[in-house]
């Protein structure tokens, strides 16, 4: 039943035979496209390339740190590695891959033909892509490969006054500033497009309360983008004014404040991590119900909790600054706000568990990644609660405990759901299934590697190891833990290798998927795989949250029950 099309007339079944296009024609089509699906795929492909590059940067770091007093790379190279790894992963892997999925799925889920502003969509992609290339050009620019290279080495949050011209001469910091500035422009453009599409292009009958939860989560994410990316852009303009026009925004010699940079950066930085995690929740919200064979439990609460998370996350930024000496009043306020955010987040976890409960759980690879996500996000949230207590944080801030915590969220929660999203929607995007056996290898290898690395990473943090150090002494007792952490990397590298191989091979040799391989319920599964360029032959009209469920179960439609 899942293979036949539930909607008659929904797709154009005739296909005119075409001559094979030239390579140049194909390239031209992709470069000039304004189709949200192609743009989405370009974002995803771009992000995957940078995932590998930033992953290699991490491999270099872990090799250097595997044993004490190692001299595999110089401190200058190591400092560039952690700066580029963090910057790339956040801005050129996380953001593009999430906006890529959003770009692809949102019009399809809304029953629309494309995004609200297709040309803006293309522009946003290309300017963000250019930003990444500019950042990486820094390895070649200036002194280039002969000297030490001029990639930035100021850390991904580039604290002032280390970034002042006097402490960071040359142009490395400027590559960081400009690369991210351009990517920020692209991000705002895409967010604007997504919000406008959601408000103005929904198909008839799709009230806001009937949108798939993934769309809700992207909506809230993009609203946060508007508020959060501006401060970073402003701070970077200020930094550039300091570096090139002799300004004094962060010039402590002239009375400027280093703490002001921290405030501005983290006013961006904290919402940014929620901007990264909310789409991941969105993927889970779609995948978990389908493989539990139940509707999501508590749809209104999920929306309300996410809105709450969005608002509260704008008020917790200074928990990154507990050690700066802001005073007990500020420390207490930010501790409270950070702890409060645990409540809506917990509600979401409970709703997911309630969705699973009473269901008929199918452990496909996509679902396995989601299950791992649930456990790992639980742990990550709890270590976050520990860190939210300022006295705890005074010890653990800036240590490997924090690094372990945020990698638990970024990799354990976000990357795992991104993998789940790949296995779930690759059939829709390419028309073929990813291989489940290879997928299981990918899952188990990555799970082992992830836990080896990031579970044990908490320990050096508790033992006093700060972050961003290129080496450490023999007598600190951190060596054995660092070695275990570094060993986990091997598993992760092999797992990613399996995954990339799976993607490439399945694209041409995978089992044909058909329009609805998972027996799912939202509108993207009502059209062909891959969808035609116009998405739907006729714009559908919907009467509930799960239009395809209603079609498949006309005796028991959702519209009878929705709260």
């Amino acid at each position: 039943m899942a293979d036949s099309l539930p909607l008659t007339g929904a797709i154009d079944l005739t296909s005119a035979p075409k001559a094979r296009p030239l390579a140049l024609e194909v390239l031209h089509a992709w470069v000039t496209t304004v189709d949200h699906k192609k743009i989405g795929l370009m974002y995803i492909g771009y992000a995957l390339v940078f995932l590998v590059i930033a992953g290699l940067e991490a491999v270099v770091m872990r090799l250097q740190l595997a044993v004490p007093e190692n001299s595999l790379v110089s401190p200058q190279v190591f400092n560039r590695m952690f700066t580029m790894h963090g910057t790339t992963m956040v801005f050129f892997v996380g953001m593009p891959i999430l906006f890529g999925f959003g770009n692809y799925l949102i019009p399809l889920m809304l029953g629309a033909r494309d995004m609200a502003f297709p040309r803006l969509n293309a522009f946003s992609f290309w300017i963000a892509a250019f930003g990444g290339l500019l950042l990486y050009f820094s390895f070649l620019g200036g002194d280039g490969l002969y000297g030490a290279g001029t990639a930035p080495d100021v850390g991904w949050f580039a604290y002032a006054p280390l970034t002042a011209k006097v402490f960071s001469p040359g142009h490395s910091t400027d590559y960081w500033t400009l690369g991210i500035l351009l990517s920020g422009v692209g991000t705002i453009g895409t967010a604007l497009n997504i919000v406008t599409t959601i408000i103005a292009l929904r198909c008839p009958g799709m009230k806001l309360s009937r949108m798939p939860l993934l769309v809700w989560l992207y909506f809230i994410t993009c609203c946060m983008v508007f508020v959060a990316v501006g401060p970073l852009t402003a701070a970077q303009i200020m930094l550039s004014i300091d570096r090139y026009l002799g300004g004094h925004f962060f010039d402590t010699q002239a009375g400027g404040s280093a703490v002001l940079w921290m405030h501005f950066f983290w006013i961006f930085g904290h919402p940014e991590v929620y901007i990264l995690v909310l789409p991941a929740f969105g993927f889970a919200n779609e995948i978990i119900p389908v493989f539990s064979r139940k509707a999501i439990f508590g749809y209104p609460a999920m929306v309300a909790a996410t809105v709450a998370i969005g608002f509260i996350s704008l008020s917790v930024w200074a928990h990154h600054m507990f050690t700066v000496g802001l005073g007990p009043g500020a420390n207490t306020f930010f501790t409270l706000a950070t702890m409060v955010i645990a409540v809506p987040t917990g509600i979401k976890i409970f709703n997911w568990i309630a969705t699973l409960s009473g269901g008929n759980i199918r452990f496909t690879v996509a679902m396995m990644f989601c299950v791992a996500f649930l456990f790992q996000f639980l742990v990550a949230g709890l270590t976050g609660i520990m860190l939210s207590a300022s006295p705890f944080d005074w010890q653990l801030s800036g240590s490997y405990f924090v690094v372990a915590h945020f990698h638990y969220v970024l990799v354990g929660a976000i990357l795992f759901t991104i993998f789940a999203a790949f296995y779930y929607w690759f059939p829709k995007m390419s028309g073929r299934m990813l291989d489940e056996t290879l997928g299981k290898w990918h899952f188990w290898l990555f799970l082992i590697g992830f836990h080896l690395t990031f579970d044990f990473m908490h320990i050096p943090g508790v033992l006093g190891m700060p972050r961003r150090i290129y080496t450490y002494e023999f007598d600190r007792g951190w060596g054995v833990w660092n070695l275990i952490v570094s060993c986990g990397v091997i598993f992760q590298v092999v797992a990613i290798g399996c995954f990339v191989f799976n993607l490439l091979r399945s694209y041409s040799k995978g089992r044909i998927a058909g329009p609805d391989p998972w027996d799912a319920w939202t509108l993207e599964w009502s059209t062909a795989s891959p969808p035609p360029v116009y998405n739907f032959a006729t714009i559908p009209t919907v009467q509930s949250r799960r239009p395809l469920w209603d079609l498949k179960h006309p005796e028991d439609p959702d519209s009878n029950y929705e709260m």
């Binding site: 539930p6 909607l7 008659t8 007339g9 929904a10 609200a116 502003f117 705002i188 967010a191 604007l192 497009n193 919000v195 406008t196 408000i199 103005a200 292009l201 929904r202 008839p204 009958g205 993009c222 609203c223 983008v225 508007f226 508020v227 959060a228 990316v229 501006g230 401060p231 852009t233 402003a234 701070a235 303009i237 200020m238 004014i241 300091d242 026009l245 002799g246 300004g247 004094h248 925004f249 002239a254 009375g255 400027g256 404040s257 002001l260 501005f264 009502s526 006729t538 714009i539 559908p540 009209t541 919907v542 009467q543 509930s544 239009p547 209603d550 079609l551 006309p554 439609p557 519209s559």
Partner: protein
């Protein structure tokens, strides 16, 4: 009965216009940028170690402000005229808007000339110089962009290529212009009233 119908679109299903939603989003995003510059300005008031202070060198730009705020009215009238398909009247009001905006910019330019050459205040002089030129300069940049867009609209209107069907788009542009004026109200209050 199929619950997902593929019949003709429902005429009662109306959603907000994409242009209005889009410009609202842009305004929120730009406001976030401006707020940070305003915060920096306020934070650094009185903290300059040396050099001129706001009280010493700033004159309240009354004329420029009146011109800029009036231009909000003229651009509103331009949109209203276009909605009634009165293209020539619309061109007139657009021209007035561009003129008023240009007077504002000229006033800013003159003010900066005096600050730099008579009072020796540049962006690198002290914290006040840095924050002042950055904030007012950021606003002026937005004014320039707005004037370019308004001038383009004026040129299209004069060339007869604009009609009632484009009123929605002109409305979107006018919202941007209103935003620029609203930012000026904030900047004016903070820099010339609060800060002096």
């Amino acid at each position: 009965m199929s619950t997902v119908s593929t019949t003709l679109p429902d005429p009662s299903w109306t959603l907000p216009s994409r242009g209005l939603v889009g410009i609202a989003c842009l305004i929120v995003a730009e406001s976030a940028v401006f707020i940070i510059f305003v915060v920096a300005y306020i934070f650094y008031l009185g903290k300059s170690i040396s050099g001129p202070t706001p009280h010493d060198v700033l004159d309240v730009p009354i004329i420029g402000t009146i011109c800029l705020l009036s231009s909000s009215l003229t651009v509103y009238l331009a949109v209203r005229a276009l909605r009634k398909n009165k293209v020539r009247l619309c061109s007139l009001w657009l021209a007035a808007t561009v003129l008023l905006g240009s007077i504002f910019l000229a006033g800013t330019a003159r003010e900066w000339y005096q600050l730099i050459y008579q009072h020796g205040l540049t962006i690198r002089t002290n914290l006040f110089g840095t924050t002042f030129y950055s904030l007012v300069g950021l606003h002026a940049t937005h004014v320039i962009v707005g004037l370019i867009m308004l001038t383009l609209a004026l040129v299209f209107a004069l060339l007869g290529r604009v009609s009632e069907a484009n009123a929605g788009r002109l409305d979107v542009l006018s919202l941007y212009w209103h935003f620029v004026d609203a930012v000026w109200v904030v900047v004016f209050s903070v820099v010339y009233i609060l800060g002096r």
